[in-house]
């Protein structure tokens, strides 16, 4: 279930970009889950025409997914096919981080690709025809060259997996199998979340195809040379379906090319989130260990990126020491690293070799790095909010695998028992800790308090606070834009805007740690 301030933040982002009516549609889908048109009309208290209009806008901008599903008809009627609408919460939050996503493309590809990608972020779904139509019609001379360049940039974006085919506008899906998740029946919220995940996965598979497509999807390429850097060893192609399989590019006949131009494409958020996840891991290692370890990690992730099957991959793919060494030495930062230094970095990273001798392979526990990054963020907040001693107590309890008694905490952290008890109570009141009282009747000391960090509860609480903080920062940014002053104060407004925007992006990094990675 989406936390309360997650809902408020998503509604705020939609309201800012598309207005209050779109925000109402978003709000009711977030609170009620997947709904049919009639239900949205009833809940959002808008006219059917308004709801249809805003649903189309939200679908266009990848914030809503429509799908058709068969349901039991009522009153002895046969099964009925109903179109329902599901809000894509993650994609709404991605709207907040467009500058970050654009920076990835800007770094990896050229300026033309960046500009084209920006169009995808601004307009949502775009067909190849719409991309080519961006060339102003009065530019008669060199029109073909410009169009070829656009096609080339588009191909680069596709090959790099930064754009993907849109799902079919209204795919027919099989209802999720309740038998597969019997344990979830007891928890309505979890059951709903699982159902929506399955629907999302089915929609991913049901990619849009040209109405008269034959065989694999193709892109007409008149540029000749395709940038295949991102897919080393693989034929350049497009992403289709659940797995990141790639199909060979083929030159097509005119009729196929014409229908292909009408297939909509969109930004591939999964690939971009994967990039951001790798970046977060590398930066955490750089801060926690050193730059050598960061270089080795970066090289390993670069070498295994194409083999990753999903965004939240826990363990990286196995690599031999020779592959790792080659990858490190090929990188600009790692060209002068010796084999011994690379081995030492692998030890620092906690990579244990699998196998023996020359066949030894290594992999990285990415889940562990993400967990350490999450711990760093939470501990920093506890330190700032409650002070050094509370921070020490919190770290002790986080590291402990079992609850600890007050005296034990006091002794280990070198804090007077009375003071330790006060701090523990404060942390418990603010839902950072879980407390259990044990009463022993036979002993002199009749009452013991046991304390522990209840990670899942506390992490959800932190995530909601982050959504709340992000919402507040967004509101401040909008207020600043409204209160523009002229003359001498403008420079101050610019500085404030930079501070607020930078803070929001930094907070978003932390938000992704807890939600996306």
């Amino acid at each position: 279930m989406t936390p309360e301030y997650g809902i408020k933040l998503a509604v705020h982002l939609i309201s800012t970009d598309f207005g209050d009516h779109a925000a109402k549609v978003c709000d009711c889908l977030l609170r009620k889950g997947t709904l049919a048109l009639d239900d949205i009309v009833r809940t959002a208290k808008l006219s059917p025409q308004q709801v249809k209009t805003y649903l189309k806008v939200l679908i266009q901008h990848n914030c809503v997914q429509a799908f058709a599903m068969e349901h039991e008809g009522g009153c002895g009627e046969g099964p009925v096919v109903v179109t329902q609408y599901m809000l894509l919460f993650d994609n709404i939050l991605h709207r907040m981080r467009f500058p970050k996503l654009l920076a990835i493309v800007s770094k990896e590809l050229d300026k033309e690709c960046e500009e084209l990608f920006e169009a995808f972020l601004k307009h949502g779904w775009l067909t190849l025809q719409q991309i080519l139509d961006r060339v102003p019609s009065n530019q008669n001379e060199g029109n073909c060259t410009v169009q070829d360049a656009l096609r080339g940039s588009f191909t680069k974006l596709v090959n790099a997996h930064y754009v993907e085919r849109c799902p079919a506008p209204d795919p027919f899906l099989v209802p999720p199998d309740e038998e597969k998740t019997p344990a979830r029946k007891h928890d309505a919220n979890s059951a709903k979340a699982v159902e929506e995940l399955e629907i999302g996965e089915q929609c991913d598979i049901a990619k849009a195809t040209p109405s008269k497509a034959k065989g694999f999807p193709v892109i007409t390429d008149t540029c000749g040379d395709i940038n295949g850097d991102k897919s080393i060893g693989n034929p350049p192609g497009v992403v289709i379906g659940k797995k990141r399989k790639q199909d060979a590019l083929k030159l097509d006949t005119e009729s196929g090319a014409a229908s292909e131009k009408d297939v909509p494409w969109r930004a591939n958020y999964k690939e971009l989130v994967c990039h951001l996840r790798h970046k977060a891991c590398i930066e955490n290692v750089r801060a926690r260990l050193d730059s050598g370890a960061a270089i080795v990690l970066s090289a390993m992730l670069e070498a295994t990126q194409s083999a990753e099957k999903n965004v939240k991959e826990e363990i990286s793919v196995l690599l031999s020491i020779s592959t790792i060494t080659e990858a490190v030495m090929q990188s600009e930062a790692g060209c002068s690293m010796t084999l011994e230094r690379i081995r030492a970095s692998l030890v620092q990273l906690g990579c244990h070799p699998n196998g023996v001798g020359a066949d030894r392979t290594y992999n990285i526990d990415l889940k562990k790095i993400i967990e350490l990054a999450q711990n760093d963020e939470v501990e920093s907040m506890v330190l700032k909010r409650y002070g050094r001693e509370a921070h020490r107590i919190f770290r002790l309890l986080s590291k402990s695998c079992c609850p600890l008694e007050t005296t034990k905490i006091s002794d280990t952290t070198f804090i007077e028992k009375k003071e330790a008890a006060k701090i523990l109570y404060k942390l418990w009141k603010d839902e950072c800790l879980h407390m259990e009282k044990i009463v022993l009747n036979e002993s002199r000391q009749s009452q013991f308090m046991l304390w522990k960090v209840k990670k899942d509860t506390f992490w959800r609480h932190i995530l909601d606070e982050m959504y709340h903080a992000a919402l507040n920062l967004s509101i401040q940014i909008i207020e600043l834009r409204r209160d523009k002053h002229v003359g001498a104060l403008r420079e101050r407004d610019v500085r404030l805007a930079i501070l607020l925007q930078a803070s929001l992006m930094k907070l978003d990094d932390a938000l992704m740690l807890f939600h996306d990675f």
Binding site: H12, R288, E377, I415, Q445, I462, H468, Q476, E479
Partner: protein, 239 residues
């Protein structure tokens, strides 16, 4: 004295310590009980429960024993408010005093701080070391006035790990760990701590007013407490 008089009134026995101190029966009972607890001592309520003597008798007897310098009152660090007594010939155990870290019933924060700083200084020089290695180095160079056991140093190091000034690692037996057995627990300074450290990294939430706000649960976009009216935001943005 007759044995039939019951266990609570034991026959006076000649005692080397108390040869010159004639004790009343109640005093004798209490004194024997307190002595039997050796360096752990005993709480007054427990004395009353075990001897079944009336409260006023216990109070009077304890005062008399103190005047005769046979028992002393000691502080129990676990429960400072309770009156705890011990025979004078014993020194309070670690459980009562709190061990090396307590002085007169209070945590010796100054001593702990000095030890922490010393450990960080030694570790900065050694780069990587075990608790034994650090303890040896400190005791050899006489950096501390009193000699510290490896156990004490290990407790200090554990607290430094919790403060993120050092980190615990396992020896790989090679490179900088070559002098340390494989798998042994050792320590190194973190990038954040240590003598050359740049200070702890401030997280995203900790660097904005909302992240440390005591009123975050009452804050709403259009409420009395809101980002538009927030005093903490005004202060943060006022530069």
């Amino acid at each position: 004295m007759s044995r039939s008089q019951g266990s609570s009134l034991k026959r006076k026995r000649p005692d080397t310590n108390t040869a010159s101190q004639p004790l009343l029966d109640a005093e004798r009972v209490l004194y024997d009980l307190i002595r039997s607890k050796e360096d752990m001592g005993i709480w007054t309520r427990d004395m009353k429960r075990e001897t079944n003597l009336p409260d006023n008798v216990v109070t009077k007897s304890l005062k008399a024993l103190q005047v005769k310098k046979l028992i002393k009152e000691v502080v129990n660090i676990q429960s400072k408010g309770r009156k705890h007594y011990m025979a004078v010939e014993f020194e309070p155990s670690k459980e009562l005093t709190g061990g090396a870290w307590y002085v007169e019933g209070n945590l010796d924060t100054e001593y702990i701080k000095i030890l922490k700083e010393t450990c960080v200084r030694v570790l900065s020089k050694l780069k990587v070391a075990t608790a034994e290695g650090i303890s040896e180095s400190i005791n050899k160079t006489g950096l501390c006035a009193t000699e510290c056991s490896t156990q004490q140093i290990a407790e200090i190091l554990r607290a430094l790990v919790l403060d993120n000034e050092i980190m615990e690692v396992r020896s790989s037996g090679s490179g900088e760990f070559s002098s340390i057995p494989i798998g042994a627990v050792c320590y190194r300074c973190t990038n954040k701590g240590g003598l050359g450290g740049g200070g702890p990294t401030i997280g995203a939430m900790a660097s904005i007013p909302c992240g440390v706000c005591p009123r975050i649960t009452q804050c709403t976009p259009d409420g009395i407490i809101s980002p538009k009216t927030c005093a903490y935001y005004t202060k943060w943005l006022d530069f």
